[in-house]
Homo-oligomer: 553 residues x 2
C-alpha cells in the first residue's frame, strides 16, 4: 500500500477538521507508555544521550562541522553538524527538487504524511532534544515539539493537499458556436512548485513553528532548506534526518530536505535568504531580523512570525480566583517565553466588580501575584511549569526591567532538581500607569508583566488594541461579565488582527493555540504577515501551468 | 429580495465553473440586440457621445479636474474627471471602508454581483469608451471590455466568496479530558479586510485586467482606489460610477470605490503605491514600473501582471493552411497589443513536415506572411481585426524594428472607414537567426514578430522556454504531430510557468484566455507574480480574527 493510501483516512479527517475547526487531533499529547509504547520514554532518552558529544549522523555532506548548543539546564550538548555554504546547499536543493516537483500530488503528500507519522514515533527523542535546546520543561517539550507540532505539520499538509486538488487535473472544454460545431479543447492543469523554500527556525519552538512551513512547502513540490537557530539545531536535525530517510525509501533524492546549520559567529541566514535561487522564505524570529528578511529576501514570497505584545484586559469577573489562577499560569508557563504569552495586564484604576465583591487595582494585582506564588510554591510543580530561560539575554532583561515600575512580585531563580546550573526566573510583576508606555509599550520578552492602571475598561481596550496595531500582538485576553464590553473588545481586537480569548478560568490558557482550530497569528498586524494555517499560507507555494490542445476532428 | 439572493444562482454556477474549469460564461459575448435589447447599441453610443467634451459626473469630490484622453481613432475625448491628492483619497477610502469591512460576506458579495450585472447592461457604452481609449475595434472592445471582463469580475467574486466561506463562522470546540469534563470553548471567526486596495490600470485592457483585482478586493471587504492609466480613464470611470450607485443604494458610503485619475505630466501612482495607508496593490503595466511597484509599495501584498515575450514553436503540422491562418490571426488581432500575443516564431532551419509535404523555413515564413495578407486583404475586415495602435510609441517601435532582421512582410497603415486620422499598423514579420537574440530576445510590444531559424525543434523549445524564464511569458503555442514533442514542450513550458496551446487551427487563438477555465498568467515567471484567478489571488486579501469564549458552566 502506498504511503498516501496508508495515511489517507488521517488526511481526510485533517482536511475535514480544518473546515469545521471543531476539536480534533491526530497525535496524542499524553506522554503515556500505553500510547507510545512502554519503553518509548526510556528509548527516547537513551537515543538522545547517545547523540551527545559527537557528530550528528545527518547523511548530508558538509565542508565543515558546526554546533555549540548548550542546554539551558546547564550542560553543553557537544553535538556537531555538517555545514555547507549557501551556493552548495541551494545547488543540491535545486537538483533534488526537479524530480520532487514532477511527482504526483499523492506521491508527495503520502511521503509527507509518512514523515509526520515517523516523527510521532520519535516524540520522546524529540522531547529530550527540545527540552535541552529550548529549555522547556520535559512535559511541555514533549507536547509542543512532539504531538502538537506534528498536528501543525499535518494541518499544513491538509491545507496544501486541499488547495492543490481544487485545481482540476484536466477538463474537456467545449464552447458552443451557435449552429456550428463547438470549439473543443482538451485542457490539462499541472501543479508546479516555486523552487527552493528556506525555513528559518527559532530557538524557543523550533519544530512547532517550523513544521507548518516545511510541510506546506514540501507537499506543494518545493525542495526545502531548514536553517535552524544556532541555539536549537538538534530538534530540527532529528526531524530532517527522519524525513530524509522517508525520501530515500520513496526513491527521491534526500536533498529534497536539507539542514543548513551555522555557527553564531559565522551566520549564513542572510546569504541564504538573499540568494537568487531561493523562491520562498519562512521566518520565525525577532522583528528586527524579520524586517531585514522582508526587505532583503530574494523573493517577495516571505512568510513571517515575528513578535508582539500581548494584553489582558480585566473589566470584571464572575470568578475572581479562577481568573487570577488562570492568569498566573499564563504568565508562568515556560517563563513567559511563548509568543502567545501575555505581557500587559490592563486594570481600571477604580478597580473591578467580582463575585467576591469590589476589588481595587491593588487587590487585583495582589490576587494575581498571590496566584503566581501559590502556583510556584511547590518546587517540582514550579520546574514543570517554568522550565528554564532559553537565552542569557532574557535573564538580563528581567534584571533590567525591575526599575520600570513598582515591583508587585519580584522574579527569582527557581531550582530544578537534578540540574544545578539551570537558568531560571519566575515572573516579575510591575505596576505602572497607563502613561508609562515607555515601560509597557515595548516587547519585554520573558517572565516580565505589567499591571497597568487605566482610567476605564474603554481606555484599556483602546490602549491594548492600539498597541497591537502599532507593535503587533498575537493574543489578547478579556475578563468581563458584560456582553457589551465583550462586543466592544471583539470589534477592537478584530480590527487589530488579534485573537481574543474571553473569560478563561479553567484548564485552558490564552497562550495555547490548537492546530485545526485556532488560527495562530492573524497576519494583520506587525506580529507577523502569515497565519498557521490558512489558505493564504499554502496557496501561493505552487502555481498552475496549463496546457490546452485542440481536439483533432 | 437581497442582491445576494437575486444573484445567488449565478454565483453558485460561477463557483462550480471555477472548480471544473469546463466551459461556462455568465455574460453573452455576442453584441446582439436580441440579448442586450434592440436599442442597446444606439443607446450606448448616444450615452458615450453625450459624455464627450465635458466633465464626467463621477459623484466624487476633487480639488481639480484632469483628463486629456485622445482616441487612437483620431479625436480628443475632451472629458475631465475630478482629481484629488493621495492623502485625501486614502483618507476617504479608509473612512468608507470601516462599515464595508464590517458588512457580512453575503452583503458585500451581493453588492459586487449587482455591480457586475449593471456593468453588463452598459456593455455598449463601455464598448464605445474602450474602443476610443484602447483603440480596439468595436467588436473586440465590446467583448473584452464588456462581457469577458464581467466574466473575469464574476470569477474573482466567486473565488473570494468560496475562500471566505471556507472559514467557519463559529464552532463549539470541546476537548476531551479523560474522565473529567471536557474543556469547551465557543469560537467565532471573523473575516477582516486588509484595508485600502489600490488597483493600477493599463491602457490596453483597462477593465479586463482591472476587474479581477477590483472585485476580489471589494468582496473581501477592502475599500478600493482605482488609478486608471491617463490614456484610458473613461472605461474605469464608467465602471466606478455604476458601482458607486450600487453602493449608495445598498446604504454604503460610495467612497468604498473611488477613482484616482491623474494627468500624464503630474502622475500620482507612485505617491499612492508608497502611501502607508495602502494595504494591497494590484498593478498591470510595464516591467519597469512593475519592478518599481514591487520594490517600493508600502505593502508586500503586490499582485502584478507585467509583460513577457510569447513564443510559437513550429515542429510539424497536419494542417499547414489552418496553422498559418491561425497564426496570422493571432499576430493581427488588436495589432499585436495583447499581453498574450505571440512575438517569436521558432522554426527549424531545415523546415518542417506538413500535410502538404515538406516546407522549408522560407516556405513556412511565406505561408504565415501570405495568411496575414489574405486576412487583412479586405479593409473592413482588417479594421475589425487590427483596431488601432493605442500609443504613438508603438508606431515608432514598429518603424525602428525594421532594421532588426530580414523583412518577410512589411508593416503598413491600414485605413479605418470613418476615421481618417486613426493610428494603425499591420504586422511586421522579420526573419532572424537564433543567435540574433538582441533582436528577438527583448519584448517588442505591438505588431512585430520574428521568424527565428533554429537548429531543431529541441533548440526551439529550449530557447523559447529559457526566454520565458528570463524575460517572462504568458503564452506559448506549439504545432507538432508528434506526441513526444508535445510532451517535451509541455514539460519545458510548465517548468517555465507558461500556458501552452497545442495545434490551434480553428476559431480559437493562443491570445484568448477564457474566464472560469484558463489561468491567465502563471505567476511563475517574470511576466507577473499573480494569476487571474486562483486561490492565491484572493486568499490573502482578507484575514481571520478569531474570538474564543469559555462556556460558563
Amino acid at each position: 500500500m502506498s504511503f498516501f493510501e496508508t495515511h489517507r483516512a488521517r488526511l481526510d479527517q485533517a482536511v475535514n477538521a480544518c473546515r469545521t475547526r471543531a476539536y480534533w487531533s491526530a497525535f496524542p499529547e499524553i506522554a503515556s507508555g500505553k500510547i507510545y509504547g512502554e519503553t518509548a520514554k526510556a528509548d527516547g532518552e537513551a537515543a538522545f544521550k547517545a547523540m551527545l558529544g559527537k557528530p550528528f549522523d545527518l547523511g548530508q555532506s558538509g565542508a565543515k562541522q558546526v554546533g555549540q548548543e548548550i542546554s539551558p539546564y546547564g550542560m553543553p550538548l557537544g553535538i556537531t553538524y555538517p555545514a555547507d555554504n549557501a551556493d552548495a546547499l541551494i545547488e543540491s536543493s535545486m537538483k533534488a527538487g526537479e524530480a520532487w516537483g514532477r511527482a504526483s500530488i499523492e506521491e508527495r503528500v503520502g511521503v509527507c504524511l509518512e514523515m509526520v507519522e515517523r516523527l510521532n514515533k520519535q516524540s520522546f527523542l524529540i522531547a529530550n532534544a527540545a527540552m535541552h535546546t529550548t529549555g522547556q520543561a520535559f512535559m511541555m517539550a514533549f507536547q509542543a515539539a512532539g504531538p502538537h507540532a506534528q498536528d501543525r505539520a499535518l494541518e499544513a499538509i491538509a491545507y496544501a493537499y486541499d488547495e492543490m486538488i481544487r485545481v482540476p487535473r484536466e477538463v474537456n472544454w467545449s464552447k458552443p458556436q451557435g449552429k456550428g460545431d463547438p470549439i473543443v479543447l482538451d485542457k490539462v492543469f499541472r501543479i508546479v512548485p516555486r523552487g527552493v523554500s528556506l525555513v528559518i527556525g527559532c530557538a524557543t519552538f523550533p519544530t512547532w513553528n517550523g513544521y507548518p512551513a516545511i510541510f506546506a512547502s514540501l507537499a506543494t513540490g518545493n525542495s526545502v532548506i531548514v536553517k535552524p537557530h544556532p541555539g536549537a539545531i538538534l530538534p530540527l536535525a532529528i526531524t530532517v534526518k527522519i524525513a530524509r530517510d522517508v525520501l530515500k525509501e520513496a526513491g527521491f533524492d534526500p536533498n529534497v530536505l536539507m539542514l543548513a546549520p551555522d555557527a553564531a559567529e559565522a551566520p549564513i541566514t542572510q546569504e541564504l535568504a538573499a540568494h537568487p535561487g531561493v523562491a520562498i522564505v519562512d521566518f520565525t524570529g525577532s522583528p528586527a531580523f524579520g524586517q531585514w528578511v522582508r526587505e532583503n529576501a530574494a523573493t517577495a514570497l516571505v512568510f513571517t512570525e515575528e513578535a508582539g505584545i500581548n494584553s489582558i484586559v480585566i473589566d470584571s469577573t464572575g470568578d475572581f480566583r479562577g481568573m487570577c489562577a488562570n492568569i498566573a499560569f499564563s504568565l508562568s508557563l515556560y517563563s513567559g517565553q511563548m509568543c502567545t504569552a501575555p505581557q500587559n495586564i490592563f486594570i481600571p484604576a477604580g478597580g473591578i466588580e467580582t463575585n467576591d465583591g469590589h476589588k481595587s487595582f491593588d487587590e487585583v494585582a495582589a490576587g494575581i501575584a498571590g496566584a503566581v506564588d501559590k502556583l510556584l510554591g511547590d518546587p517540582d510543580r514550579a520546574a514543570n511549569i517554568l522550565g528554564t530561560i532559553q537565552n542569557e539575554a532574557t535573564t538580563k532583561r528581567v534584571t533590567d526591567a525591575r526599575k520600570l515600575g513598582r515591583i508587585v512580585r519580584d522574579s527569582s531563580a527557581s531550582p530544578v532538581a537534578g540540574f544545578d546550573n539551570a537558568r531560571t526566573a519566575t515572573p516579575l510583576l510591575l505596576a505602572v500607569d497607563a502613561t508609562d508606555d515607555r515601560a509597557w509599550g515595548e516587547e519585554r520578552f520573558g517572565p516580565i508583566a505589567f499591571l497597568i492602571r487605566t482610567a476605564s475598561t474603554a481606555e484599556s481596550i483602546a490602549l491594548a488594541s492600539q498597541s497591537a496595531r502599532r507593535k503587533g500582538a498575537i493574543t489578547a485576553s478579556l475578563y468581563s461579565t458584560s456582553d457589551a464590553v465583550v462586543d466592544q473588545a471583539a470589534d477592537a481586537f478584530a480590527r487589530a488582527g488579534v485573537a481574543l480569548s474571553v473569560n478563561l478560568t479553567g484548564g485552558i490558557y490564552v497562550n495555547q493555540s490548537a492546530a485545526f482550530s485556532d488560527y495562530h497569528v492573524s497576519g494583520a498586524n506587525p506580529a507577523g504577515n502569515a497565519c498557521l494555517t490558512d489558505s493564504a499560507f499554502v496557496a501561493n507555494r505552487f502555481r498552475v501551468a496549463p496546457m490546452r490542445r485542440q481536439k483533432v476532428a
